[in-house]
Amino acid sequence: MAILARTQQKPGKEPITFGDTFKQMRKQWSAYLSLSPWFILFSIFTLFSVSFSFYISFREWNILEPAKPFVGLENYIHLFKDEKFFQSLWNTILFTGFGVPLGMASGLLIALLLNTKVRGQGLFRTFYYIPVITPLVVSSVIWKWIYQGDYGLLNYYLLRLGIIKEKLLWLADPDLAMPALIIMGVWMGTGGIMVMYLAGLQSIPEELYDAAKVDGANGFQRMLFVTVPLLSPTTFYVLITSIIGSFQAFAHIYIMTNGGPLGRTTVVGYYIYQKGFRHFEMGYASAMAYILFALILIFTIIQMKYIKGDIQY
């Protein structure tokens, strides 16, 4: 089979010289042709786009003004003096730092419970997943109502249960707005995380559990020493995608809080939107986007280095 697969390329021989490579490229021209629709769009909307953004970040770029003067590092220097930028960065860290672990914990918990061969697994899964496919705009409308001060559902039930003494203005209170958005984020994200964990759980071979049972491990030990380590690739994947998703948070902030109160829910993505498309400071906004990019890059590299030795396949 391996030989068959290479009949076209002469068995076992990789092209060594430039001439060989070039010959191969000519022979396989249609491969490049099939990649071209993707590559053209990719070149424009990804490669050129990223470089263009970098270029803009060194200019004062107002879409309404014809002159876009070069300002060197001014945008970046200005950033480090911008308290609102640091506030938005802090808000993003809070939103991600609480939202992602909470979402992952609840997603994992539900997946573990569903994986104990409960009846109606499919039905449970569907219910937990519905928030994920609900349009963000719609979720924002619903939660805006839930968090209402006077008639909101949350206040009613918290009062009934005696958890709070008086009605809270969830979205208007500077100290409560961010927690409110985090809770809503967990509601939206849990279903997706649950499904990924379920897939990870189902790929763990049954024999491992049997072996652990024979060795006398109890249920808790089996979970700690079999399930958790074997789920680490899933955890890694879920963590990365959740963080990326969390950094993109925008629609519900736009609809529910407009970044307020007192800028407490202005995350970086929203601040970039405000600067770029409301104040038309596109150069400044691009510089901000690049700083965010750099931070994510550093974070991902650290994570990869740190977790690499830990993953067991």
Binding site: I133, P135, F247
Partner: protein, 309 residues
Amino acid sequence: MAVTTQEKEITSVRPVSRVDLGEILSRLGKFLVYLTLVIGVILFTAPWVWMVSASFQPLGDMFNWPPTWWPENFTIDNYHDFLEAAGLGRWFLNSAFIAISVVVLQLFFNSLAAYTFAKRRFPGRDAIFVFMLGTLMIPGVVFLIPNYLILQHIPFFGGNNLLGQGGHGWLDSYWGLILPASVSVWGIFFFRQYMKSIPDDLIDAARMDGASEFRIYWQVALPLSGPAIAFNAISTFTWNWNDFFWPLLVISSEKLKTVQLGLALYFVKNRTAWDDVMAGSVLATLPVLLIFLIFQRYFIRGIALTGMK
């Protein structure tokens, strides 16, 4: 339950009673599992159930305290009012047209590129693939401003000249919403993972018969990729139907608004028209919900596949 335990304790020796204690514990465990799951389901579906219920209540009833979960004065006026006040029909058509176009283009472009990456050998293949995946790390906000400006300066469109000056290009047009979304790195990656599992023997047999690579892709690889096609189609449709941010930036004229953009702007403008907005929300969710419920088997399986390496 309790009776049998006692009986056994009387009649038999210790080990049996220990087994029964274990059984009680495991039943208790099962009960707790179901209890947690059911409470969770109630918490997760309540917001959603409330939306549906509220959409059938007159505005006054929505403000009831305690909240009414089952509409006391059932009405469909909210739907009526929303349809009349907003251009919902047009929004629906726009969203459907955009989402379906993106789905069709993505299915073709993604699967073709994926086949090439999965089943063909050519210089630079792995390097290009790794490079492509690497760009996934770039956060989306980096693209907002440059892509907006790129769309604005597409030559010969929207009143632009050869150099892309003078008009609005692809801004405020279907083009601007469809083309940038018409190929996806995630989609290619996912398709490739799936197509890798197609046996090489099949592909090679077709090659021996002298079929062109495009024919093999079209007549062998694609028909064998049903679940991948389904997943790509459903998730792309859902994503584009639900998208709000990009339409918010790109679209400015009334007749090009999508459902999500229309609903959001209607809500921002009429903050107190909760009744109509709830009805609009139900309508805006319905298509994706139906598609999800019908195809969820593919959906769940597909998500499971993306999580594996």
